[in-house]
């Protein structure tokens, strides 16, 4: 860690676990849930958010001293929207099918509360390098949860990972299916994502009692 001081490293590592944007800060849940039925979509979404947050945090941090605070929300929205348009156009050009699957959820990165939340809470008060690390760290924390949810939903719901069958063939009854295993179609429907995230929160808070909320 010659590159990063301990304080800077924490900016990246904290959001991965004990200060996770989804399970602890409760930010950016909207887009996290709808697109996690497949692992591939989750990974692409995570990468898009990492890109938008890393660059967005730097831009806001650069502008923090010249931006009148009254119109900062609109300025932030425009910065994010411009970055999201770039992501959307790249996806449409190089991964058209995937951009169809993600449909409006790429656009909804704009109103992803993680991004606005970190702009307000961090980038407005910190330098460029630290803002960049904070952006990457929080986006990674978001991505980790997204990929976890996507992994379980695709594995249990369709028996595949990245579209490749891993549990055998459900029609020819090979692999696990030969002993009577069935795909759980329940995992594919949207509300299952909420339950999976609920269970992740449960596991995380049982492991770290300090995170338990006062009811």
């Amino acid at each position: 860690m010659a590159l990063l001081s301990k304080k800077d490293a924490n900016l990246i590592l904290d959001p991965l676990a004990d200060n996770n944007p989804i399970t602890i800060q409760v930010l950016g849940i909207c887009s996290a849930l709808a697109i996690t039925a497949e692992l591939k979509a989750s990974v692409v979404m995570a990468i898009s958010v990492i890109f938008v947050m890393g660059i967005g945090n730097v831009v806001i941090s650069l502008m923090r001293n010249i931006m009148p605070s009254k119109i900062r929300i609109i300025v932030q929205l425009v910065v994010i929207a411009a970055l999201v348009i770039v992501v959307d156009q790249v996806l449409k050009a190089y991964a058209y099918d995937l951009s169809k699957t993600l449909s409006v959820f790429v656009g909804l990165i704009i109103t992803n509360c993680i991004i606005m939340g970190r702009f307000e809470a961090f980038a407005l008060g910190n330098g460029i390098w630290r803002s960049f690390l904070d952006g990457i760290g929080n986006a990674l924390g978001y991505g980790v949860i997204l990929i976890m949810v996507g992994f379980f939903r695709e594995l249990l719901g369709s028996g595949t990972l990245f579209g490749i069958p891993v549990l055998g063939d459900p029609i020819a009854k090979t692999g696990l299916y030969s002993i009577g295993y069935e795909n759980n179609g329940f995992m594919i429907i949207p509300p299952a994502a909420l339950i999976v995230v609920g269970v992740i929160i449960w596991v995380q808070r049982s492991r770290n009692r300090a995170l338990i909320e006062e009811a």
């Binding site: 909207c30 709808a34 929205l77 929207a81 156009q89 992803n112 509300p191 339950i195 338990i212």
Partner: protein, 246 residues
Amino acid sequence: MEHVELFFKSIFIDNMVFAVFLGMCSYLAVSKKVSTAVGLGAAVIFVLGVTVPLNWLLDQYLLQDGALAWLGPEYADYNLSFLSFILFIATIATMVQLVEIVVEKFSPALYNSLGIFLPLIAVNCAILGGSLFMQAREIPSFALALNYGISSGIGWFLAILAIAAIREKIRYSNVPAPLRGLGITFIITGLMGIGFQSFGGMLTGDNEPPEGTVPTTAEKAIEEKEIKKEIEEDEKAVSYNDVINE
């Protein structure tokens, strides 16, 4: 008729919270008390009802492929749809600001009950989501866009009202400590979402299945196989009967 259909479809089947998870952040953050939930819900209905038709106009006369044709034939080739994100969010942010100023000026009572939620709403995914879905589903007329905005707002209102009422009651229950607060809210929302899935059978009119229920190719293959099997069995049964009869 199509108005009634769209109205119920956007409230129950394509419910903003339970079917597409829009506006989850404020849904989770502001659902601790019924009274605040009602305030935020009313504000969402109002803002969606204003911004969706407005963005419909923008989409129709500015953004769509060939939408600029009304300026003259030389503009008919332009497709500005890549600008929709930035224009939609700008419309929403300015509308919210405008509404806040107008309401504060003319109805202080309404401002006191609704005002504090308005800035929150500019970044509520349900609002931008409403406009983006309006664009993606190609809603054909201004009146339908208005209908869509208001009815999806009502759907969101119902959802936050329900979860706020449940959360007020759940304080008296003995929830496992690590699940308290956020965890149990997620799971309850999931269960409510499963409940709302049953409205999928309510689709009227055209036989288009609701999103997410389209059978996968694997399922289709299994179904076809079963049908074939049944047909074969039927054939066998017939021949068996024929043999007996003979």
